[in-house]
């Protein structure tokens, strides 16, 4: 039996929802970033899978995936730098304690 497009999409959806759950529930800013990485990976699986099954002649999906990986690296670098800066000035990275924008 051939593994179809829908199988890959379901795996990606599950990975995405796991990442979302992490983002919604973790208190630690670094852990939230990890959740975001999971969600980005899920998106990449989708892109590559669509490239493979919908438009195999072109390589657009892989190009997008590569760009997203690059941007994910940027995001990780800047995000983690922000976490360090926040930790330095607020002495915590528990995001529910960082509520300066509260009403």
């Amino acid at each position: 039996m051939q593994v179809g497009l829908t199988s890959y999409l379901i795996v990606a959806a599950l990975l995405f929802c796991l990442g979302l759950y992490g983002v919604l529930t973790r208190r630690n800013a670094v852990a939230i970033l990890m959740g975001i990485e999971l969600m980005l990976n899920a998106a990449n699986i989708n892109l590559v899978a669509f490239n493979r099954f919908v438009a195999p002649a072109a390589v657009a999906g892989q190009v997008f995936a590569l760009v997203i990986i690059t941007l994910a690296a940027c995001e990780a670098a800047v995000g983690l730098a922000l976490v360090m800066a926040a930790y330095r000035s607020l002495e915590t990275i528990q995001v529910d304690e960082i509520n300066l924008m509260k009403w």
């Binding site: 899978a49 990986i69 940027c74 670098a77 983690l80």
Partner: protein, 163 residues
């Protein structure tokens, strides 16, 4: 049959550590659990005949980003964080949202008739990707490099210790 088995194994290798990543109260363990997840995804890329993407995935995710995350953990809390509460007060709602979203997405994916094409992938994938980057997608390529430079400088400026 072999392909299905490989897919199932790779999916489990991807999803089970992912569960650990989002649920573990030990932040270091969570970070380390990212590695098998990323490697599982790499396997899926290989199965999808995207060898170059798979290679980059290993280099950047499994290598660079994981190490970066570990460094930040060490530089901030400086520990595994098991003594502190790791989950906030919207766990039930968050779980519900995640489950519901997964359910909805799966329903959508299975119901949708995807226009699958039975084409053949280019013979040597990396050449095609390189050609695409420097022809059709050259603008994206250049902009991405600028973003990379900006985020590099930005990260240094933000993380710099203010003396």
């Amino acid at each position: 049959m072999g392909e299905l088995a490989a897919f199932m194994i790779l999916s489990l290798v991807t999803l089970i550590p992912a569960v650990v990543v989002v649920t573990s109260s030990n932040i270091v363990r969570a970070a380390l659990s990212l590695v098998p997840t990323f490697l599982g995804v790499t396997g899926l890329y290989v199965m999808l005949q995207a060898e170059f993407v798979a290679g980059i995935q290993v280099l950047i995710y499994a290598g660079a980003i994981t190490v970066l995350i570990l460094f930040v953990i060490m530089l901030t809390e400086g520990g595994t964080g098991v003594r502190t509460r790791q989950l906030n007060d919207q766990v039930p709602l968050g779980a519900m949202a995640a489950v519901w979203l997964a359910f909805v997405l799966i329903v959508i994916f299975t119901r949708t008739g995807w226009p699958t094409a039975a084409g053949v992938l280019p013979a040597y994938n990396v050449v095609a990707v390189g050609n695409a980057f420097l022809s059709d997608y050259v603008l994206i390529f250049e902009v991405t490099s600028v973003v990379l430079l900006v985020s590099l400088v930005g990260a240094i400026v933000i993380a710099r210790r203010e003396d």
